[in-house]
């Protein structure tokens, strides 16, 4: 096609070794395939390099022929670049209102809303359905979680005076040892889940990442409190580890979220409030209070996700019930809570070794159990369980609290 009036791009002295292709690409972008672009410029190697570059990208080069003065070559636009993107699609939209139901596996790690070239590897994420992982509150919870991050060095007054009777200090150390063990489960579970979720569900992955980071901090501050007076860590009983092991083996995202966040961390909210209330020293009070703020977000996401999912999947509650029963059956022959932990909680409240103090401590721990049970029932009812069924299920929850 001879087009004397073809557009002209003047490269001046810019060579292809210095980025001339950018100006050529830009000039070709708006031309239809087959149209010509006249090229002028003073780089001595211009024509040699223009031809080499065009050959590689599917354009052709003609002699300048007549027409505009100074034209050194004419490029006939090809369609290779157009072909590459001809079947491209957007990976949903960038905002949370752009989340799709079933993102394609080959979208892989691409940003949500990016223009996706067809093809490429299909990454092995197995949680790829919106209804399985999403919660509408996830974006807001993530934003809240990020703004609520705290630095253990600054948020806790580690130098505050802590001078407890030896046995009360030992009780605090035992409780901290127990908390570390449970927080490690709460760290590992979201970390494992988030690596299985399609990155399209960005806010959920982000939220779980922050959740894992929260638990990492909790592990740190509980460990630091346990070692504050230079003693040894407390005990870890088989029964507690057995209970936590059943959490780690749950492969279903929703069921794992239910058992960990709604029932386990939900119960922990009561436990951490209890520790805040009866903390015998300021450091214990601060670390349990800070952890409780984070755990409340984790519980909110778990409840929000399951409310969303139960709205789209009527069979969910049946599966949730079965998960609780399955876990109960697996733990029915185990002791539940480490006796050392129970005794430590009583000791903490009692504060001294008199019968009246122990009676008060024992009663308060019993009251804690009742509060935990009521909290679980309340959350189960929010998920749509009738009150009597909520009571039955709450009673089946592990005696290990988490």
């Amino acid at each position: 096609m001879s087009t004397p009036s073809a557009p002209v791009i003047d490269l001046e002295d810019l060579g292809f070794e210095q980025g001339a292709h950018l100006l050529i690409q830009r000039a070709l972008r708006d031309l239809p395939p087959g149209d010509e672009l006249a090229v002028t410029g003073s780089d001595p190697a211009l024509v040699v390099h223009l031809e080499a570059w065009c050959r590689q990208f599917g354009h052709r080069v003609h002699d300048p022929g007549g027409g505009a003065e100074g034209v050194r070559a004419r490029v006939v636009r090809g369609h290779t670049d157009l072909n590459r993107w001809s079947a491209a699609e957007r990976a949903g939209g960038p905002g949370s209102n752009g989340v799709v139901e079933n993102p394609a596996p080959h979208w892989g790690l691409a940003a949500r809303g990016a223009l996706i070239e067809q093809g490429g590897p299909e990454l092995p994420f197995d949680l790829t359905e919106r209804k399985l992982v999403w919660a509408d509150i996830a974006p807001n919870l993530y934003a809240t979680a990020v703004s609520a991050q705290w630095n253990p060095d600054e948020a806790v007054q580690w130098e505050a005076e802590v001078a407890l009777p030896d046995e009360v200090e030992r009780a605090v150390v035992q409780i901290m040892t127990y908390l570390v063990e449970n927080e490690q489960a709460a760290l590992v579970i979201p970390a494992r889940l988030l690596s299985r979720i399609h990155p399209h569900f960005r806010e959920v992955v982000q939220l779980l990442a922050v959740q894992a980071a929260d638990e990492a901090r909790h592990v740190e501050v509980f460990t630091r409190r346990a070692l504050l007076k230079g003693g040894e860590m407390g005990t870890s009983a088989v029964s507690g580890r057995e209970s936590l092991a059943t959490l780690l083996t749950e492969p279903d995202f929703s069921l794992a979220s239910f058992l960990l966040s709604v029932l386990g961390e939900g119960s922990f909210l009561n436990l951490l409030s209890f520790l805040d209330r009866y903390a015998p020293d300021p450091v214990t009070r601060q670390v349990t209070r800070l952890a409780r703020q984070d755990e409340a977000r984790h519980v909110a996401f778990g409840v929000g996700h399951l409310q969303y999912q139960s709205a789209v999947d009527p069979s969910l509650r049946t599966r949730l019930r079965a998960a609780v029963e399955r876990r109960h059956d697996a733990l029915v022959d185990t002791a539940g809570l480490n006796q050392d932990v129970f005794d430590a909680l009583v000791t903490l409240v009692a504060g001294e070794w008199t019968p009246q103090a122990v009676k008060r401590g024992y009663a308060e721990v019993q009251r804690l159990r009742t509060e935990m049970d009521e909290g679980r029932q309340h959350r189960l009812i929010r998920l749509g369980f009738p009150p009597d069924e909520a009571a039955d299920l709450s009673a089946l929850h592990t005696r290990n609290f988490m």
């Binding site: 060579g15 292809f16 070794e17 210095q18 001595p44 190697a45 040699v48 390099h49 031809e51 080499a52 570059w53 050959r55 590689q56 990208f57 599917g58 090809g78 290779t80 072909n83 590459r84 001809s86 079947a87 070239e117 067809q118 093809g119 490429g120």
Partner: protein, 284 residues
């Protein structure tokens, strides 16, 4: 029986490319397989002997295939070639600050080239210089860079070494393809603007997929049709095209090999019957 093609393993990506094409052919119902060679001469000999049905040939391998076929009265067909195999040129490059402005100025000088068997970085440019009156080793010294001998210049190392020799000032000029002159400038082997092109060969063609006598006419037509139907819009094909450096297959043609045939004769690289007559310096 599978249609069996030879390819030279000049780079690990050759496996990715042809295994990918093999899978694509299988989906189209064509039983295609490939074998790898460490150099082109054995591949051509196996094509001539009917041990393989087709060969992904360098231009030099095609010249030999053509001569073997003519001498033994069988048919060799350049079935397809990449769009990027057509109309290449090589350039004679000097340092920008050198006094050389024309090929004739290189009389008495040393010129860097690629490997002994590189059509684009050695054979065609040296033939070009000879036609311009510079007889190698008489009017000018040729400094070869024998990297990957037997790969017919597919290994870019010799060409890059020639460019490095030019940049280092140990030679007065260097020969390379237009594409590699651009590449070396962009990657920094030659700093931008530090070299000047003083001459450019006529355009020539590069590789082709050569089919031997063992492939029935119908199979050849189907094989060719399938290759030509591969599209850059196909997400399975596109990454393979990107690796192999093409945007579409084009029908093979023989019109772009005359300059290389002349160079082969001038250096007695192959005889007219396709025998390897290059001296001891060519030992793949």
């Amino acid at each position: 029986m599978a249609l069996l093609m030879g390819a030279v393993a000049y780079d690990p990506k050759v496996v990715t490319i042809w295994a990918g094409f093999r899978s694509w052919f299988a989906d189209q119902g064509l039983d295609f397989d490939f074998v790898l060679y460490s150099h082109y001469e054995r591949q051509v000999e196996d094509l001539a002997a009917g041990r393989i049905d087709a060969a992904w040939n360098s231009p030099l391998a095609w010249i030999r295939t053509e001569r073997l076929a003519a001498a033994h009265n069988w048919r060799a067909t350049p079935l397809v070639m990449r769009d990027t195999d057509r109309d290449l040129t090589s350039v004679i490059v000097v340092r920008s600050d050198s006094p050389f402005h024309d090929v004739a100025d290189l009389k008495g000088e040393t010129i860097a080239v690629g490997a002994v068997d590189s059509p684009q970085a050695t054979m065609i440019p040296v033939s070009f210089l000879r036609a311009a009156g510079l007889r190698p080793e008489v009017d000018t010294m040729i400094r070869r860079h024998d990297v990957g001998v037997g790969l017919h210049g597919d290994h870019i190392g010799g060409e890059r070494d020639a460019a490095r020799a030019l940049a280092a000032g140990t030679v007065s000029a260097a020969c390379m393809t237009d594409t590699n002159h651009l590449l070396f400038g962009r990657e920094g082997t030659l700093s931008a603007g530090s070299t000047r092109v003083i001459a450019r060969t006529e355009s020539f063609d590069h590789c082709n997929l050569s089919v031997g006598a063992s492939m029935p006419e119908d199979d050849m037509r189907r094989f060719g049709d399938l290759l030509l139907s591969m599209s850059y819009t196909d997400p399975r094909v596109r990454p393979l095209f990107d690796l192999e450096g093409l945007t579409t297959w084009l029908p093979g043609r023989t019109s772009g090999y005359a300059a290389l045939a002349t160079a082969v004769d001038e250096t007695d690289f192959y005889d007219s019957a396709g025998g390897v007559t290059a001296g001891e310096e060519y030992a793949p």
